[in-house]
């Protein structure tokens, strides 16, 4: 098992950081009137861990007996949808956005079903079941609208825990019905404590300070990534003494290469080469937004101050279009061309300006 899973805290008491938040969750779970919750924060900050720990606090160890089910839903147009559902006796966890536009049907069916059945286990601590909805920010508007009244109506049998990266895409009525719980990324010191804890538990010996610093800077607030990198480094040098350099993921170096190519030369041929590389990245399932952001990061490091704002501006614009559009590569490419032309114009502009001054 990976360290990330193996040493994941199981209860609220074991959590290392955001102590105040853990206390709050604990008091909520104990108080009897547990509200609907909405966890949000950057990835790798520990949202899922906190949800699992809260469930544990609510219902005891029984929530860890999970079974994975595949449920079939039928749309009004007789299309069959398969959804993977993880459930225990007390809760059910699903990712409705898996089925794209049909997520509303999944939400309606599941919630109605849970809402209309009562808890059969008499020894259960609470009478309600919990529905955990992952990736709530990619729910369609319809699905969110379907949640609204249900959340109020079936409060006796049902509590909803939403998990999202950002609340921007959630409609206001949902937000006003939930208790918002912000899970911020851990700070440098907090990550250090966790890494040391993992090192101790795994019997990996003492983690050298400089190595820890390096891992933490690299992870940029993503705890999961930090632990994964740590484990990888441990594999490379079991005694942790030589401190091997942090292995950047392949795609990241590849993206940097693309960025460098854009800066080196601005010609149609180069566009074609970049395009090939972008295709390569996309075909390895790297999300286009991440590609765009990483390449843009690299490019702005290398260009003149006055160009930076423009490059980010176009990155934002094309990222947005990419979401709305269908074919990602068009927009990535369009951005590349735009950046190239900006860059070239910038240089030509200066040269021409200089010439003017000369004459």
């Amino acid at each position: 098992m990976l360290w990330v899973d193996d040493y994941r805290p199981r209860t609220l008491n074991e959590l290392h950081y955001h102590v105040r938040l853990s206390q709050r969750l604990k008091s909520l779970a104990g108080s009897g009137d547990f509200p609907h919750l909405l966890f949000y924060g950057p990835s790798g900050a520990g949202k899922k861990t906190r949800i699992a720990a809260t469930l544990n606090e609510l219902f005891g160890g029984g929530v860890e007996k999970l079974k994975i089910d595949q449920r079939v839903f039928i749309t009004p147009s007789r299309k069959k949808l398969d959804v993977n559902v993880v459930q225990s006796n007390y809760h059910i966890e699903l990712t409705p956005s898996e089925v794209g536009n049909y997520d509303r049907i999944v939400i309606q069916e599941i919630l109605k079903e849970i809402a209309q059945t009562q808890q059969v286990d008499v020894s259960a601590k609470h009478r309600f079941k919990v529905v955990v909805i992952n990736e709530a920010d990619s729910l369609s508007r319809d699905a969110q609208a379907a949640l609204r009244r249900t959340m109020e109506k079936y409060m006796t049998n049902l509590r909803i825990i939403l998990c999202a990266n950002s609340t921007s895409r959630l409609i206001a009525p949902i937000k006003s019905r939930c208790l918002l719980i912000r899970v911020a990324a851990p700070s440098h010191e907090e990550m250090l404590t966790v890494l040391n804890h993992v090192a101790k538990r795994a019997g990996a010996g003492l983690l050298p300070q400089d190595m820890a610093d390096e891992i933490i800077t690299d992870a940029n607030g993503n705890m999961r990534k930090a632990i994964l990198v740590f484990e990888a480094m441990k594999m490379q040098s079991p005694d942790l003494s030589s401190s091997p350099p942090i292995v950047k993921p392949d795609w990241e170096t590849y993206c940097y290469k693309v960025g460098d190519m854009i800066i080196q030369e601005q010609t149609p041929q180069r566009v074609m080469e970049v395009r090939a590389k972008l295709y390569e990245l996309l075909s390895h399932c790297i999300p286009p937004t991440i590609i765009l952001k990483t390449v843009a990061d690299r490019v702005v490091q290398k260009v003149d101050e006055s160009l930076k704002a423009d490059i980010m501006h176009w990155a934002a614009i094309y990222e947005n279009r990419m979401r709305l559009g269908n074919k990602k590569i068009y927009h990535l490419e369009a951005w590349v061309v735009k950046v190239m032309s900006l860059y070239k114009q910038f240089f030509l502009g200066i040269e021409l300006g200089d010439l003017d001054d000369f004459i």
Binding site: R24, K26, S27, L28, G30, S31, G32, D33, P35, Y40, G41, P42, A45, P76, Q108, Q116, S138, R141, D142, A145, A146, L147, R148, R149, T150, E152, K153, M155, T156, N165, S166, T167, S168, R169, P173, K175, S176, R177, L179, L180, R182, V183, A184, A185, N220, G221, T289, K293, V300, E305, K308, A309, M312, H313, A315, A316, E319, N320, R323, L324
Partner: protein
């Protein structure tokens, strides 16, 4: 039996009568449900609408109605209270059909369920079990809650139904955006616009609830509740309840501070803002970086400074829409920016808002807004 039944219905009047419900322990109910107004007189801050509806109550003649307004202003509460006052608890279940977005509401449902209900002649009035007299006029009410999420086709199918059965059925459409209701439907209804609650009535209402729940709150907390919820009473009540839960769960109960409310609402704490530590109130920090003449060194690294701040902000997990709202408030009230500069800022913010609604990346757009604001406030 009757008493028991009535008790069960008492706290949650929202049932259409389809599902029978177990008795709810009132202490476990969300306060928004618990303190829903019982009669239309209890509805806060919508005097005009209440006075019109009072008249219909005495004359027992009701037009088709279209309620619209921002969330949490009492639209659903008003129509439910009105229906209850008209029919009383016993007739309520046979005379009122409530459909909302969580029910399937495609065109087929409009054709079948709504039409069937609409064409039934109302049943004879049963004697009220609680001994009160209710007007109980000879028609039924169909409440279409969240009507703006109905499809155009479904709305079109309603048109004729509304006219055909107008004698025995009244419709009440409830929605946030009146523009999403097709014109032929809107013209068949008398429109009621619900305005955002003014702060004095919201204050009074929150005070009452806090008193009834025996939660000690001071005026500062209530002011924070009102300012963070911007006229949405439901949101304010939910925040209050959450805060009360959090404070009441510890031993001994800690008093509620305005900061708690801000944390629950996901708003940056305003008080920490002024002395510019780059975390916490980063959003003021961006603005400070943009607007106040910074030291030369920081100014040279303008782009990197802004980018780092945005990164930190996103790391803290604040949502982009919240950052936009607060940045907007700061810029609009900013003392030194000119009108032209402010408009330019507003323009980018509008673009960013649209992009965020379309699901664009938070970090990129906040960065974009910050850079634009920076550029605008630093003319060369």
């Amino acid at each position: 039996m009757t008493a028991n039944f009535f008790q069960a219905r008492g706290p949650s009047k929202k049932k259409t009568g389809k599902e029978k419900e177990s008795i709810i322990n009132p202490s476990l109910q969300p306060w928004v449900e618990k303190y829903r107004p019982e009669t239309i007189d209890d509805v806060s801050s919508q005097e005009h609408i209440v006075s019109v509806l009072q008249k219909t109550l005495s004359s027992t003649n009701l037009p088709h109605m279209l309620f619209y307004g921002p969330p949490g202003t009492g639209k659903t509460s008003t129509i439910l209270a009105l229906a209850r006052q008209l029919f009383g608890p016993d007739n309520f279940r046979t005379r009122v059909l409530e459909l909302n977005a969580s029910d399937e509401r495609g065109i087929s449902i409009v054709r079948e369920k709504v039409k069937n209900f609409a064409r039934q002649t109302p049943r004879a009035e049963t004697v009220a079990s609680d001994g009160k007299k209710y007007p109980c006029p000879p028609y039924k009410i169909i409440i279409l809650d969240e009507a703006d999420s109905m499809t155009q086709d479904a709305q079109a199918a309603l048109r004729r139904i509304m006219e055909n059965y107008a004698r025995i059925t009244r419709f009440c459409l409830v929605c946030n955006y009146v523009t999403r209701i097709i014109e032929p439907l809107a013209s068949r209804c008398s429109k009621f616009r619900f305005k955002p609650l003014d702060s004095s009535s919201a204050r009074q209402r929150l005070g009452n609830i806090a008193a009834a729940e025996q939660v000690p709150v001071n005026q500062a907390v209530i002011s924070t509740l009102i300012s963070t919820s911007s006229g949405d009473l439901r949101r304010a009540i939910t925040y209050l309840q959450s805060a009360a839960r959090l404070s009441g769960a510890t031993e001994p109960p800690t008093p509620i501070f305005p900061q708690d409310i801000q944390e629950i609402a996901g708003v940056f704490a305003q008080t920490v803002g002024v002395d510019v530590p780059p975390t916490q109130s980063g959003d003021e920090d961006i603005d400070m970086a943009d607007v106040t003449p910074l030291t030369v060194k920081a100014d040279l690294r303008g782009f990197d400074l802004i980018r780092e701040t945005v990164k930190l902000l996103i790391r803290e997990g604040y949502s982009a829409s919240q950052i936009l709202i607060q940045l907007h408030d700061i810029i609009v009230e900013h003392p030194t920016l000119t009108g032209r500069q402010k408009s330019a800022c507003a323009l980018t913010m509008a673009e960013a808002d649209k992009a965020l609604c379309d699901g664009a990346d938070d970090e990129l757009w906040i960065l974009e807004v910050a850079l634009r604001v920076h550029k605008v406030s630093h003319p060369e």
